[in-house]
């Protein structure tokens, strides 16, 4: 262990660079995962904050944000007749052109009497007619928009009368209009996309869902299931590129640790040879190399976790549409990744030691 420490501390600049390299790789892994976890939270925000525990959607539509849902006429009345309190909404994606930028938003047309609108207003009030909109506060801020400003949505102009909180994400933001405004916007008079249904007292959400399963042309899902389906859908889009990035970051980290330990080992090859010559087993030398790798990877990983937390705060301050959540599980994975990097990185130097003939050093 003493030898390992001496080898590492022999050149502090090299040690610092290697720790920086590992920290950057770990930081990248954590940021990518935190970015994904934050996105899941953001896309679940609407369902988590609106009334109801069961969602009724068009048959075969199992998520809020993936497919367009349009319920057959009479579905709301049928759901009410089965005991639920119903909040109908009409919603789907729209692309806004804001300051020459394409901005996808998810307008929710809701009926103020039933609910389904914004749950926390930072300023202003709910829409009171078909030409008013509650805009996401962060989206408005990003585009320098304020209460009283107008926004073009498809062929209509809406005035911003309220600014909502907790409704943003980097991909899209939730905005709110009256349901009748949404019907006019999408030319679907009386149309409803989803029903947010609340069970009466003494009825569990599961019981209500089971009662609603036979609605013609519709499917009933627990809100939690629908949130999970949305997360799965987005995971499908992002998992492949994300895994690719994480794999690259992991390899880079491994190479950095590998290079440092390899250099430290090669430089001290003679000393290792002497140790071998006086009877040290390969196992002792391997442990020295692995210990060095573990120390570099551990310190690098811990620094990486700290830096990731700092950078995440910085990114969220500069770009508030991003939510980066560093979950305990992701941190544990990063620690594990750091240890695996260390072990893989120790392979090459270990081979260099294994092939070392003790007699060689005496011939030099």
């Amino acid at each position: 262990m003493l030898l390992a420490r001496r080898n590492l501390l022999q050149d502090t600049m090299r040690l610092a660079l290697s720790i920086t390299g590992v920290a950057l790789a770990v930081m990248l892994i954590l940021l990518l995962q935190g970015f994904l976890d934050g996105m899941y939270r953001q896309i679940a925000a609407y369902l988590e904050h609106t009334p109801g525990t069961v969602v009724v959607a068009q048959e075969d539509v199992t998520n809020l944000l993936g497919a367009t849902s349009l319920l057959p006429p009479g579905t709301a009345a049928a759901a009410r007749s089965r005991g639920g309190t119903v909040a109908p909404i009409l919603s789907q994606f729209v692309i806004l052109d804001l300051h020459d930028k394409k901005q996808p938003v998810y307008p929710v047309g809701y009926d103020p009497a039933s609910g389904g609108g914004p749950w926390r207003l930072a300023a202003g009030h709910a829409p009171q007619n078909n030409y008013q909109v509650v805009f996401d506060r962060i989206l408005a801020q990003r585009h320098g928009m304020a209460l009283g400003d107008t926004v073009e949505m498809m062929d209509r102009t809406f005035t911003i009368v309220g600014l909502s909180e907790e409704t943003t994400s980097w991909m899209t933001s939730f905005i709110f209009i009256r349901k009748t405004a949404a019907e006019a916007l999408w030319r679907i008079p009386g149309g409803t996309s989803f029903l947010l249904v609340t069970p009466p007292a003494r009825m569990t959400p599961q019981m209500l869902r089971d009662r609603l399963t036979d609605l013609p042309g519709a499917d009933a899902l627990l809100k939690g299931d629908m949130i999970a389906n949305d997360a799965r859908l987005f995971a499908r889009f992002f998992s492949a590129p994300l895994q690719l990035m994480i794999a690259i970051a992991f390899l880079v980290g491994t190479l950095i640790v590998g290079m440092v330990i390899y250099n430290a080992t090669v430089e001290r090859q003679r000393e290792y040879g002497v140790l071998k010559a006086i009877g040290a087993h390969n196992g002792v030398l391997y442990r020295t190399v692995v210990a060095q790798a573990l120390v570099v990877a551990s310190v690098g990983t811990l620094v990486g976790i700290g830096v990731a937390a700092g950078i995440a705060q910085l990114i969220m301050a500069l770009r508030p549409q991003f939510l980066i959540v560093l979950e305990g599980a992701a941190v544990a994975w990063a620690l594990l990744a750091g240890m695996v990097m260390a072990l893989l990185a120790a392979l090459v130097p270990v081979r260099a030691i294994a092939g070392l003939a003790p007699a060689e050093i005496f011939r030099r």
Binding site: G21, L31, A67, T68, F93, K102, G217, P241, I248
Partner: protein
Amino acid sequence: MLRIALRNLFQNKVRLVIAVGGVALALMLILALDAVVGGMETKLTAYIDYSGADIFVAQSGVRNMHMAASALPLSVKSQVRAVPGVATVTPVLYLTNVVVSGENRHLAYVIGLPPNAAAGAPWRIVAGKALPGPREVIIDRGVAEQSGVRLGDTVEILGADFTVAGLSEGTANLTNSVAFIVRADFARLRGEAATASYVLVTVAPGESPDVVARRIEALVHDVTAQTRREFGAQERKVINDMSTDVITIMNMVGVLIGMAVMALTVYTATLARRAEYGVLKALGARNRQLCGVVLAQALISISIGFLLGVGSTLALAAIVPHTGLNLFLQLRSTVLLKVGAAAITITAVSAILPIMQIAGLDPAMVFRGKTK
């Protein structure tokens, strides 16, 4: 000096491999992410690019298809047809829905086509019919394979059963595919008999799509008419605008990692040869010359890393489509410039430490055996 730089680099193969590999991977971070976005942009516009339409007419203010909705009164079809320069008009219905087969669900743009559609139909059929009939659907071959569906099997779309009559190719991306049914089925299931989502227009020979599109907007009320090129550009802009911030952040991380790897490599390589540099200094070599060696080392490593990074990304782009992921990577020429600039920055920054090392090297130390 170049010879010394080359010798320094190639003397220790393991170190060279690690250095070049690290730089290649760091640059690959930037390249691969951009290639993913590039691929998404290309695939996203596949339907538009291969629709055969010269102009897309949509509800006023609607300039996109992906994540968008458009509803036009069907009367627009005859109004557009009457515009000089228009050869054919094809009103299609469109929405994003699900193709269901057993437990398999695939998001799809569902396109409702009129009989004998002049545009907007599947462009490459690998099996079955080229156009769907009533209660029939043409789905993407990849989706069919993933769902275990064959010609003649039944899938569910918009809550109704459809027989798979054809399999198309090139109609899927990372997020969804395209499914083609007849307009009448679409309208019946959605109650949209009197509307069209988009009207696809072909222009008469010799007519300019740009001119005809402007003419349509002037003569038909409450519509937005865009040429295929404009419409495709608007679609690509959605992906581009959404991903700009993410790409910027990732690029910065990629550059930082590249700098750390490169700085470490050049630093350790210089450190290992400190004694030789001392001898060279003692023999009269100037600091400038020795710094040139360090810079040359960094530049050669970066160049090899750059080529390897580009090569690996190209290899990845060739392999990924065969992995069953609907992921398509496209390396764009603009990113090569960006990565080139990043590589030069990495080289310059990574050489600073070793240069400082050499500048502070006292030749006399070599002879006292104190080079470390």
